[in-house]
Symmetry: C2
Subunit: 158 residues, 2 copies
DNA sequence: GGTCAGGTACTCGGATAGAGTATGTCCGAGTGAGTAGGG
DNA sequence: CCCTACTCACTCGGACATACTCTATCCGAGTACCTGACC
C-alpha cells in the first residue's frame, strides 16, 4: 500500500481539532515528511472531496465534513485509488482449453473469492471513522493531545 | 496486487485434477501466458511448500497437499509475500510534537485499524480452499471440465 | 533375457535486462491579507 | 475616519525527474528416462 496513505490519515486526524486552514508545509513539518510529496497527497484528498483547499495568505487545508462522516476507507481510496487490487484478466477464456464466452455469464470463482476478500477489507475500513481514530488517540496519548497539536499548528514557531 | 497471483491460483486449480507432474511450460501454454515468468511464480509456490517440483524428463509441478488443505491465502502469500500491505512508520514519534516512546506501548490507532482490515481480508482468503474453487469451476463450466483440462495437460499435442 | 553404464533430452533454479508505478521535486497560477493613498 | 485600489507574500496546483518493484527473459545445474552393450 502507498506510504502516503499513512501520512494522509494522520493529517486528517490532526485536522479534526483545528478550525483554521493548515498549510501543507506545516503538516509536513509536524510529521517530518517531505513537504512537496505530502502536498501531493493532500491534493488527492481535495480531489476526493474530503478536504477543502483554500488559497491565499492564510490558506491551507480543512476537513470538508464532520470527522464522524469521514471513514478510513474514504482516505485510503482517495490516495490509493478506488479500483480493487485484484483484477480478473479472464484467463479462463484464453488458451486451447478456453471456456467459451457464452458460459462466462458470472465472474469466475477466483474473481469472486478475491472480490469477497476485498469487500471484507473495505467493510473493515469503512467501520472506522476519523472521529473514532481521534478519540482513540486522545485515550491513548492523554486527553488534550490533539488540542496541543492544534495549538502548535496555529502558532508560528517551531 | 501482483498479476502472478491470478496465474498461480489458476495453476493450483487445474493441478487438482492431475496426478503426474505438469511442466511449467505446459501450464503457460494452457493459460497463454509468459512461460518463463509463470515458472518464476511456480518457483515461489514451491518455496512456500504448496507444490513439489520434480526434475527430469517427465518432471514438473504437483500439489504437495490435498486441495482442501490449501487456502487462497496460502497462494496469495506465497506470491505477494506474507508481510502486510500497511506498515506503520511510527509517525507519532517524530516531529516537534512527537509522542514520547514510553507512551507508545500499544500500536497507534491507525495501525490497529489497518491491521484489522488486513486481518479481515486474510480471514476471507483463508476461508476459501483450492478444492472449493475447483468445485465451483465444475459447477459453473460443467462437470468434467477439469478432467478435460487434465487430459489435455497429459497429452502432447496442442 | 536381465542388468548396468552411458548419453540425452527435458526439467527446474537462480542470475540477468526492461517497463511501469510510486516517490520526490520544482516552478508557475491564483488569491486573500495587509497597506498606502485618497476622499 | 472610512473607503478603495494596489502590492505582496503566501498558498495551492499541475508538470517534471528519480528510485524501486513488477514483469519478462536467458542460460546453467540437475535428474529421470531411454538406449545400447555386456553378462
Amino acid at each position: 500500500m502507498s506510504e502516503g496513505v499513512e501520512w494522509a490519515v494522520h493529517c486528517c486526524v490532526v485536522l479534526t481539532s483545528v478550525a483554521a486552514p493548515v498549510p501543507a508545509a506545516r503538516l509536513a513539518e509536524l510529521h517530518q515528511v517531505s513537504p512537496t510529496y505530502l502536498a501531493k497527497q493532500l491534493q488527492a484528498l481535495a480531489r476526493a472531496g474530503l478536504v477543502f483547499s483554500v488559497q491565499g495568505k492564510s490558506g491551507g487545508y480543512v476537513l470538508s465534513r464532520p470527522p464522524a462522516e469521514i471513514t478510513l476507507l474514504d482516505v485510503v481510496e482517495a490516495i490509493d485509488g478506488p479500483e480493487p487490487a485484484f483484477v480478473c484478466t479472464e484467463i479462463r477464456q484464453r488458451g486451447p482449453m478456453a471456456t467459451p464466452a457464452e458460459y462466462c455469464t458470472t465472474p469466475c470463482p477466483i474473481s469472486r473469492a478475491m472480490a469477497a476478500s476485498e469487500s471484507a477489507r473495505r467493510d473493515a475500513l469503512r467501520s472506522v471513522t476519523i472521529a473514532g481514530l481521534a478519540e482513540q488517540v486522545e485515550a491513548g496519548s492523554g486527553a488534550g493531545t490533539l488540542n496541543g497539536v492544534a495549538a502548535w499548528l496555529g502558532s508560528t514557531g517551531t
